[in-house]
Subunit: 289 residues, 2 copies
């Protein structure tokens, strides 16, 4: 499907928002790009890099005239941002988001959306080690997956256009129920962060001082805890906004841990080996890493 | 301390054993190096690379004439290897190991060691993503730490020489009680592997198929579970040989997890944020990674 937009507004010109703007400009899909954000320095850098043509630090002013709005702000601000800009957007405008939790956003956005505006929630699974417009790249999404979570109310034409947007940016698009998305992410993404956080925190409760323990860290601890260095506010919101799925994943993890602990307690060599072999086998299916 | 050995025998010419041989040869500390192992291909490769001068697949034959023996076999084989070679070693020979668990090795080796042989247990904290003689490098130990775990029975001169061996190979040497070493490693190293293993295994117990969950994995899951791809037999032995410390670390981790879970259950934003900030702060002290 050939798509074209006259006026893209990117709210939150960070790694994801900035990269999407760059990818869409590269593909000749958008004419004019306006960035909206709080941090002046980041917006100035985005303009310098040619990611955006102009910018505004005022949400309503900056969003005027858009036919496509990308909301790439921290997950728990997304519904409020959309509520604020909705009254000034014209009919036919498409709004997309990139939040890593989807059901609660859908619940909060859909009922209050004025007729004629089209919201299509999505979650591009793309790396996030760096942040800000400085780190944005037109290639960020190449070869990745983007989950879109339409509801029964989603406009089919808007969904088709948004699917094209993400495909053109380089991603495989997968359509999924928002609740299912959240359950999957709770398991494969959010639980990793929880476990990494707890692994770091565990060092504080042991007989030896945490700083000393850390001085003996090597590859294993470093890899396993890397995500615990991510932004706390973001993850607090993700946990609370995906509470049910996250709690279910934690409970299942507790069972796994109790089983492994049991094998060690009982010195069950065969059980332990089988468990470790099973984990290795499944882990090795991640070919790319 | 200037040290020199005429005849180094390396039992297990893998990443660690091979790298130590290379480092010691580089520093002009050893004359002749004999490799002992099971795998013919690995020994041949080690000889091709100049890591060893000759090799034997027979433990006793290969160890004859040594004045320094490096035992770099899997941790649970170390005491048996030392017991087997001890009768044919001449008085004054120094035996070192590189096992990642120390107390149980000490307990099993010391009582049966013939008078005149000197054992100094050690654990070089060095990366292990690759394995085999192919991956060995004289630079592997540069800038790393090596923990030596002498006992009250350890010969002071032998300890001094072994300290020099590891220093010459590029490591900072730290002397520590074997039990303390095992407690620290249980926390900072072995627990990471346990948690990574359980995180992978958790994917099998959730409503969605594990293979499907893994197809949505990105950086977080990949980093956090990387060590779960290590060799199952090695880790089974480490867990069982460091059982007490590992169980204590798991129990403390369970407390951390229960605390974090509680914050999520109770939707305690402040508690959650404080926990995440605490983990991030401590994790960020790992400057090198």
């Amino acid at each position: 499907m050939a798509i074209h937009f006259q006026h893209l507004v990117v709210i939150g010109v960070g790694l994801i928002g900035g990269s999407l703007a760059m990818a869409l400009r590269d593909r000749g899909i958008v004419e004019r790009i306006v960035g909206v954000g709080r941090g002046l320095k980041n917006l100035e850098r985005a303009k310098e890099r040619g990611i955006i043509d102009s910018f505004s630090r005022d949400l309503k002013e900056g969003s005027q005239g858009a036919d496509l709005v990308v909301v790439a702000t921290p997950v728990c601000t997304i519904p409020a941002v959309i509520k604020q800009i909705a009254p000034i957007l014209r009919a036919g405008t498409i709004i997309i988001d990139v939040g890593s939790v989807k059901q609660i956003i859908l619940e909060q956005v859909e009922p209050s959306l004025p007729a004629g505006l089209h919201f299509v929630g999505g979650h591009p699974l793309a790396g996030a080690e760096k942040s800000g417009a400085e780190a944005a790249s037109a290639q960020l999404f190449q070869g990745g997956k983007c989950v879109l979570t339409p509801s029964p109310n989603t406009d089919p034409q808007a969904l088709e256009k948004v699917t094209s947007i993400w495909r053109e940016s380089g991603m495989e698009v997968i359509l999924m129920d928002a609740q299912r998305h959240d359950r999957i992410m709770g398991a494969i993404s959010h639980l990793s962060h929880i476990v990494a956080t707890c692994l770091v925190q565990t060092m504080k409760g042991l007989p030896d001082p945490a700083e000393e323990l850390l001085s003996y860290a090597s590859g294993g601890f470093n890899d396993t805890t890397r995500v615990a260095s991510s932004r706390p506010e973001i993850w607090r919101d993700i946990y609370l906004w995906n509470r049910e799925a996250v709690l279910e994943a934690i409970s299942q993890f507790e069972l796994s841990l109790r089983r492994l602990k049991g094998f060690i307690e009982e010195e069950d060599e065969a059980g332990l080996l089988k468990e470790l072999e099973g984990a290795k086998k499944l882990r090795n299916q991640l070919k790319r890493f």
